[in-house]
């Protein structure tokens, strides 16, 4: 039962994150939103681990790999956001309004 | 040797072309030696092939590019007719071009692409399958463009643009026709009759029209001829190439191939597409002549004359009687010899006497006798004066028209002859009978320019005088048609 709860929570996180990624203009918010989606996907994946009798170790291995990948992506994204802010003085992409 | 002979003939122009690109501009001797050497080797190889094909030998060199995509070189008698012409004229045009471009820039580029054009023409002539033909046809289109824009000024760039604007849609039409046909029949070889029965007549008519549209641009059939007069912006050796050695001829040759070897003369008649093609060719013959009359620039007049004359070949093939086909095929060579003479001479008048307009020709006969005699022979041949080459073609075409029950074509030939006389005789009159302008000057100091013109003029006299020999263009065309009708 609890596995389903994780899966549902994961799905909600994914939806929230996609909303944030599309709706937010502030680049840092978008980076955070990306991480929210990532967490949702990993939670969802983790929920599958208990679906077939004894716990399946593969999803955990996948999640750990995924977290490492997401972390590197986040690091690069934050670095680019900072560099872009320093170079252009803006925290949003050109042609997009900066959030309040 | 015999298996690789077609490949060797192709390489004899391809290798000099590729090497020339990498030669430094200053390496005149090496570049000239390479191109003339290639041309001589090619003539030698073609002679060997001529003799053995005349005795009935066959050649086949195939290379699989991809499943269903075979590069097949299978020279037959028709191939040799075209190939011999282009190889001979390549040699003479190279001599002419070396003299013409002396001291001018970008020679490596010119000679590289020029030889590449000849290589493409050779490949196209030897093609044994439709797709091989298309590949070389396309290569010819592309290799010609840098020659058309060679002078890199506004006029030549505009000419290049117009040329591609006509040629690329044409090749798309050609590719559609080929793929449509081959998707039903499988790969089509010229040597074996294609199973065209698998297509209904309407599809076949559309495919035939697409083929004619695709080739018609190169052959200058109206209304697809617009690029040819514009391309006159190119230097004289390029005009010679376009009008005599390669491009226009490739279109006419292609129409002959499609009609004779893909559809077959009988089927063309059965489909009822031969007469429309003959009418289109006749219209082109007359329209080209009328437009030629209106030009006062020598090269433009010659260009429209080509539009008119090349359609003699198409007319002969479209009339589909044995004599008409012989006349048309022989004219492929005859027109090449006469037209290249005229362009060589026009180039000499422009370069050595500064004359580009018709008025400037006044009295040049005495100042530049050799060139003027050559020009006159070419022009009289075009009109069809016996015993020059054009006369032979016209006789065969006329007999063929009667034979295939298209007496109206005789009227076209007669009208065209009158028009030819109308736009060429005034030129000859100016050359020989009018006094030169007071500031007229000119010399024939460059043998490299004059000798090729005299040689081609002599050749167009020779092929008329010796038309009875089996190795004359007429004799060879007869051989082709005999093999076609009496296999």
């Amino acid at each position: 039962m609890s596995a389903d709860a994780y899966a549902v929570t994961g799905a909600i996180l994914i939806a929230l994150g996609f909303y944030g990624l599309v709706a937010a203009h502030h680049l840092l918010r978008r980076v955070v939103a990306f991480n929210v989606i990532g967490s949702g996907v990993f939670l969802h994946l983790g929920a599958y681990a208990t679906r077939y009798g004894p716990p399946d170790p593969v999803p955990q291995a996948l999640i750990i790999t995924g977290i490492v990948v997401a972390l590197s992506a986040t690091a690069l994204a934050v670095g680019l956001v900072v560099a872009h802010a320093l170079a252009s003085g803006r925290v949003a992409l050109p042609e997009e309004a900066e959030d309040d | 040797m015999s298996v690789y002979l077609p490949l060797l003939i192709l390489l004899s122009s391809l290798v000099p072309a590729l090497l020339t690109f990498f030669l430094p501009e200053r390496a005149h001797g090496l570049r000239n030696g390479l191109n003339l050497g290639g041309a001589l080797i090619k003539l030698g190889l073609i002679t060997v092939m001529l003799v053995s094909v005349g005795r009935g030998a066959t050649y086949d060199f195939s290379m699989q590019l991809a499943p269903g995509l075979v590069l097949a070189l299978r020279p037959d008698a028709l191939s040799l007719l075209f190939m011999t012409l282009s190889a001979l004229l390549w040699f003479l045009t190279t001599i002419y071009a070396i003299a013409y471009f002396e001291g001018k820039p970008n020679q490596s580029r010119f000679f590289g692409f020029f030889s590449l054009c000849v290589a493409a023409t050779t490949g196209l002539a030897m093609s044994g399958s439709l797709i091989t033909f298309f590949i070389f046809f396309e290569l010819l289109t592309l290799a010609t463009w840098p020659l058309v824009i060679h002078q890199q000024n506004r006029a030549s760039l505009a000419a290049g643009r117009v040329y591609l604007a006509y040629a690329l849609p044409a090749s798309a039409a050609l590719l559609i026709a080929i793929l449509w046909l081959e998707s039903v029949t499988g790969p089509i070889l010229f040597s074996t009759p294609a199973p065209l029965d698998r297509l209904d007549d309407t599809s076949l008519r559309i495919i035939f029209a697409l083929f004619i549209a695709g080739m018609g641009v190169k052959a200058g059939l109206i209304p697809l001829h617009g690029w040819l007069p514009v391309a006159m912006a190119a230097p004289a050796p390029v005009s010679a190439l376009l009008h005599a050695v390669a491009v226009v001829k490739a279109g006419a040759f292609g129409i002959a191939r499609i009609t004779i070897d893909v559809f077959g003369i009988d089927r063309v008649e059965a489909l009822g597409v031969g007469t429309p093609l003959a009418v289109l060719a006749s219209a082109t013959i007359l329209w080209g002549s009328i437009r030629a009359l209106q030009q006062d620039e020598i090269k433009k007049r010659l260009a429209f004359s080509t539009v008119s004359q090349v359609s003699y070949i198409v007319l002969g093939v479209a009339l589909a009687g044995p004599f008409a086909v012989i006349g048309g095929l022989a004219h492929l060579v005859h027109q090449g010899l006469m037209k290249i003479t005229l362009f060589f001479c026009a180039g000499i008048f422009a370069e050595r006497a500064g004359v580009k307009k018709i008025e400037g020709l006044n009295g040049l006969g005495r100042i530049m006798p050799w060139t003027s005699v050559a020009f006159s022979l070419g022009a009289l041949g075009m009109i069809g004066l016996p015993p020059l080459a054009g006369f032979v073609s016209k006789v065969y075409l006329g007999v063929g028209a009667l034979q295939s029950g298209s007496a109206w074509a005789l009227a076209v030939l007669a009208a065209s002859t009158l028009l030819n006389a109308a736009y060429f005789l005034p030129l000859l009159y100016r050359l020989w009978y009018l006094p030169p302008a007071p500031d007229a000057a000119g010399d024939e100091g460059k043998p490299g320019l004059v000798v090729p013109a005299v040689l081609t003029a002599a050749a167009s006299l020779g092929v008329g005088l010796f038309a009875g020999s089996p190795y004359s263009p007429l004799g060879w065309a007869t051989l082709i048609v005999t093999r076609e009708y009496l296999p």
């Binding site: 994914i14 990624l21 680049l27 978008r30 990306f34 989606i37 996907v41 969802h44 994946l45 599958y48 679906r51 077939y52 593969v58 999803p59 996948l62 995924g66 990948v69 590197s72 992506a73 994204a77 680019l80 956001v81 560099a83 872009h84 170079a87 252009s88 992409l93 050109p94 | 690109f21 290379m63 699989q64 590019l65 991809a66 499943p67 269903g68 995509l69 970008n106 580029r109 797709i131 298309f134 590949i135 396309e138 290569l139 592309l142 824009i149 890199q152 000024n153 760039l157 290049g160 643009r161 591609l164 690329l168 090749s171 798309a172 590719l175 559609i176 793929l179 449509w180 081959e182 998707s183």
Partner: protein
């Protein structure tokens, strides 16, 4: 089979070496090139004899372990990557000479990592492993876009990254659903699975994600600023190679892993998007006045061609005789596009340096002072137009033949129409290059910088002339029905 491991390890090792010893970056890259060519040669020879090569690293069997498999298409794409890399490395050894600042320090590890990621994605058959490859490729590509450090390049990199990350997450979500339904991720095993209800949605999610990364219309808006903003050697890699990897995975999913659940309408929809991309990209290319932007929009159009294969070789079409021709056709097209596009970007970079701008008005008449570069540009243009005797013509011929054989002639019309359109938009820069005498004073490129684009463009042409050998290779690993072809 050791060759497969070498192909993954060598670029990675090269990347680490070029970080640890930046002065040796060019040497390391050249070494990786040599090793890669030898490995690909051995792999190809082995495959022709023994069929597809399979490696399971660490002896962990599938499904727990990760399967690496080299079939014909894989070797074709590996060779494409190596050829483009060799050309770009040659050219970049001047522009990014070691020790010439931050940009050159960044370029070499990024380029080699990109190579490693490409090879991983071409060889891997494990959906999750492919995700990791996709992410690595994305991050490296973003780094290359941002290389110049200017504000607009950074903005282009960020925009690219947003699209790419959404794409990765969509793909990952699809992978998670597949794992949830079947408990396995290997493509070979998945092809024999019992279909589950969620398969359709999972495939749709993965495809959407991959399409965003391949810049399929309407997900292409990130591509022009990103590819045009990068330095020329980086653009060559980004435009020539990067989209091909995600395309290859999408195609494998639709024709190898799960062709059974694919519906014909979906195939037509994807190809329609491709067709729209061909014309949309072509028309936009026609309106650009900067050479690099023309090339970039041409990439949008040329990537569209690739998707025309879906109704020919995806879904039920995968088992049909014409799928072999379509597969080979699209492989030829992809490879020759990569070579020609890389050549074109390198040439554009040289023009840009010579006169300080890539506007068509500025590069007028450069054919005179830079004939070799212009020759390369012309050959590349001929390839992109799909004219014989280039490899792209062979590809186009095969694809049109397959379209006619399957009764879907309209895709052939798209191919021909797109070819004419590309002739139109590529004619403009060609004409500009030949227009007049050109400037007297230019910054001359080094000899090897001029040779690199010529080498790449010539390779694209030679591919068309000698296409028989690659053909035998591409066929390795095809189902029997498809090998016989038409």
């Amino acid at each position: 089979m050791d060759a497969i491991v070498v192909l993954l390890a060598a670029p990675l090792a090269g990347a680490f070496l070029s970080i640890a010893a930046p002065r040796l970056a060019v040497v390391a890259s050249a070494l990786v090139c040599v090793v890669a060519f030898v490995a690909i040669g051995l792999l190809g020879a082995e495959m022709l004899e023994l069929g597809p090569a399979i490696v399971v690293p660490g002896n962990w069997g599938v499904p727990l372990g990760i399967g690496l498999e080299a079939d014909g298409k894989a070797v074709a794409f590996l060779a494409m990557t190596a050829l483009v890399m060799a050309g770009v490395i040659t050219a970049a050894s001047v522009e990014f000479a070691p020790g010439s600042g931050r940009r050159s320090f960044g370029f070499w590890p990024l380029a080699l990592l990109l190579w490693a990621a490409m090879n991983a994605m071409i060889l891997s058959r494990d959906l999750f492993n492919l995700y990791v490859g996709l992410e690595l490729l994305t991050l490296v590509a973003v780094g290359l876009v941002a290389l110049s450090g200017k504000a607009d390049a950074l903005a282009a990199a960020l925009r690219y990254m947003i699209f790419a990350l959404i794409g990765s997450l969509l793909y990952l979500l699809g992978v998670v659903m597949i794992y949830g339904a079947h408990g396995m991720l290997d493509m070979g095993l998945l092809s024999a699975r019992t279909p589950a209800p969620a398969d359709g949605l999972a495939l749709a999610l993965m495809t959407a994600g991959l399409a965003a990364k391949t810049a399929l219309f309407p997900f292409h808006v990130w591509l022009p600023p990103a590819h045009a903003g990068a330095p020329a050697p980086a653009s060559a890699l980004l435009s020539g190679l990067v989209p091909k990897a995600s395309f290859l995975i999408a195609l494998r999913l639709w024709s190898e892993a799960m062709p059974d659940i694919v519906r014909p309408e979906a195939l037509v929809l994807i190809a329609l998007l491709g067709a729209v991309a061909v014309f949309h990209g072509g028309l936009l290319a026609l309106r650009q006045v900067r050479l690099k932007l023309i090339i970039v929009y041409s990439t949008v159009a040329q990537l569209g061609y690739l998707f025309l294969i879906f109704p020919l070789a995806g879904g039920e079409g995968a088992a049909q005789p014409w799928s072999a021709g379509a597969w080979s056709g699209v492989t030829f097209h992809a490879v020759s596009h990569a070579l020609a596009k890389a050549a074109m970007f390198l040439a554009a970079g040289l023009y840009m340096r010579a006169v300080g701008s890539d506007e068509l008005g500025a590069i007028r008449g450069l054919a005179r002072s830079m004939p070799m570069t212009t020759f390369a540009f012309g050959l590349a243009a001929l390839t992109l137009m799909g004219l014989p005797p280039s490899g792209a013509f062979t590809g186009k011929y095969m694809m049109i033949t397959a379209a006619l054989a399957s009764g879907q002639w309209w895709w052939g019309v798209v191919l021909l129409g797109g070819g004419l359109l590309s002739a139109l938009y590529l004619y403009r820069p060609l004409e500009a290059l030949f227009d007049g005498e050109g400037p007297a004073e230019i910054i001359r490129p080094r000899r090897r910088e001029e040779l690199a684009p010529l080498f790449l463009a010539a390779a694209a042409i030679l591919l068309g002339i000698f296409s028989a050998v690659p053909f035998d290779l591409i066929y390795v690993g095809r189902p029997d029905a498809a090998v016989t072809g038409l």
